[in-house]
């Protein structure tokens, strides 16, 4: 079953269910639309492999070795708080991941409600570990296949990463 992924912080969605002012202050950044913005960026995925591919694409976009924390939200949950549109407007250097990008068209009030709903459900972000989940996908990625304006720099970084770990 398809679900949607959004990068977030483990400290915000750590499995706790308390929604108080302290948590709201912590979560404020995660689900915020700035004035003039109309949607929240998410990626659609079918399984854990797709989740790892998204994590690798985000690591590649930042050219950083580090784990990636992902919040999973079901389609049913997300559609209670806005309209989901698959638009292919991802900003990563991996075309297949960009194609899975979707936008949640919503309002700030609905986003706040979504964040509080996820918290009350005890939702916890899933950590995609660097060596276990992210790195293996990157090592299988062809630098020549990267796309977008960040592709040249990302390709150089990926080549260096591969050179450090000869297979």
């Amino acid at each position: 079953m398809a679900f949607y992924l959004r990068k977030d912080k483990l400290t915000t969605f750590d499995g706790g269910t308390t929604v108080d002012d302290a948590w709201r202050a912590q979560a404020k950044g995660a689900f915020t639309l700035r004035p003039g913005e109309e949607s929240l960026s998410v990626f659609e995925a079918e399984d854990d492999h797709a989740c790892d591919l998204v994590a690798a694409a985000l690591a590649l976009a930042n050219q950083q070795e580090r784990p990636v924390d992902i919040l999973k939200i079901s389609r049913e949950e997300l559609e209670r708080f806005g309209t989901v549109e698959r638009d292919g407007q991802g900003d990563t250097p991996i075309a297949a991941v960009n194609a899975c990008h979707a936008s949640l068209h919503t309002t700030q009030e609905q986003l706040t409600a979504l964040a509080e709903h996820l918290r009350q459900q005890g939702r916890k972000v899933e950590r995609r570990k660097w060596r276990e989940h992210v790195l293996p996908v990157l090592l299988k990625t062809d630098p020549a296949s990267l796309v977008g304006g960040a592709a040249p720099a990302a390709a150089v970084w990926l080549e260096a990463l591969k050179a450090k770990r000869p297979r």
């Binding site: 400290t11 750590d14 913005e37 109309e38 930042n62 050219q63 070795e65 977008g148």
Partner: protein
């Protein structure tokens, strides 16, 4: 500025007054059958005009009204691409307000904005990262959404490419009020290379004692990205004193990753 036009010969006599900035619909009074208008400018003498001349005068006046109603003298670019290009040019000429506006567009998801536009914002800020540093950090402090932080990190990596930029990042890492801004700075310092690497390493080792768990974790992984083997001892010490279980597990992984090379 007052502008009054009357059409005395018409059976459908019309009169309109426009005040600069008020946006009155001046052109609505133009009628094709009328040939002569009486025009009064600022209470001055009356002036009879043929319709063709009157239309030209009205167009000029409309333009003056439009310009007077705009807060800046620069024309407003129409597309996001034009907007980013204009702000980039202003930033390159040292306009600090351009940095703030560009930083406000990091990971922007407004109408008509595409991936290319968002990448152009990052590229523009990155090219002038040292100048844009305060604005980028303010933007992160105001909206610490993950995609905004990621875009900010990419922009700040430009500062990590020089010793002076690295020192500015190190200062921000120590002193910025926002934990999210410090987290972004820590991640950006992981991109330091060459002569800047030692300064970055020193600042990141200090940040392993930051009161915020996300900053400590980001500093640890930035040290992995720096690839300084000597940082392994500092990471080990940080791991031993870490009380946050998730950060401690992450430090373990970071130590292993640094050992990988």
């Amino acid at each position: 500025m007052n502008f009054t036009a009357a059409r005395p010969s018409s059976a459908h006599y019309q009169r309109a007054t426009a005040r600069a900035g008020a946006g009155a619909p001046l052109l609505a009074m133009l009628q094709p059958r009328v040939t002569t208008y009486t025009v009064v400018v600022g209470g001055g003498p009356h002036l009879a005009m043929q319709e063709s001349s009157f239309r030209v005068a009205m167009c000029i006046h409309q333009e003056l009204v439009t310009r007077a109603s705009q807060p800046t003298s620069a024309p407003t670019p129409r597309s996001p691409r034009e907007q980013v290009r204009a702000l980039r040019d202003q930033l390159s000429h040292g306009d600090p307000s351009a940095a703030a506006k560009l930083a406000g567009y990091l990971a922007w998801r407004g109408e008509g904005w595409t991936s290319d536009d968002r990448l152009a914002v990052v590229a523009a800020l990155r090219a002038h990262a040292l100048r844009a540093l305060p604005s980028v950090l303010d933007a992160v402090a105001a909206c610490a959404r993950a995609d905004v932080v990621d875009a900010a990190v990419n922009a700040l990596r430009g500062a990590a490419e020089s010793v002076s930029g690295t020192n500015a990042l190190a200062t921000a890492l120590q002193g910025h009020d926002s934990p999210d801004a410090r987290m972004a700075v820590a991640r950006a310092l992981g991109a330091a290379r060459g002569l800047a690497r030692d300064d970055a390493c020193h600042a990141l080792v200090g940040a392993l004692r930051d009161p915020d768990a996300d900053v400590r974790e980001s500093a640890a992984w930035a040290l992995v990205n720096l690839g300084v083997p000597a940082a392994k001892d500092a990471l080990g010490a940080a791991r031993d004193r870490e009380r946050n279980e998730a950060v401690r597990a992450s430090l373990d992984e970071a130590i292993d990753a640094l050992s990988d090379g």
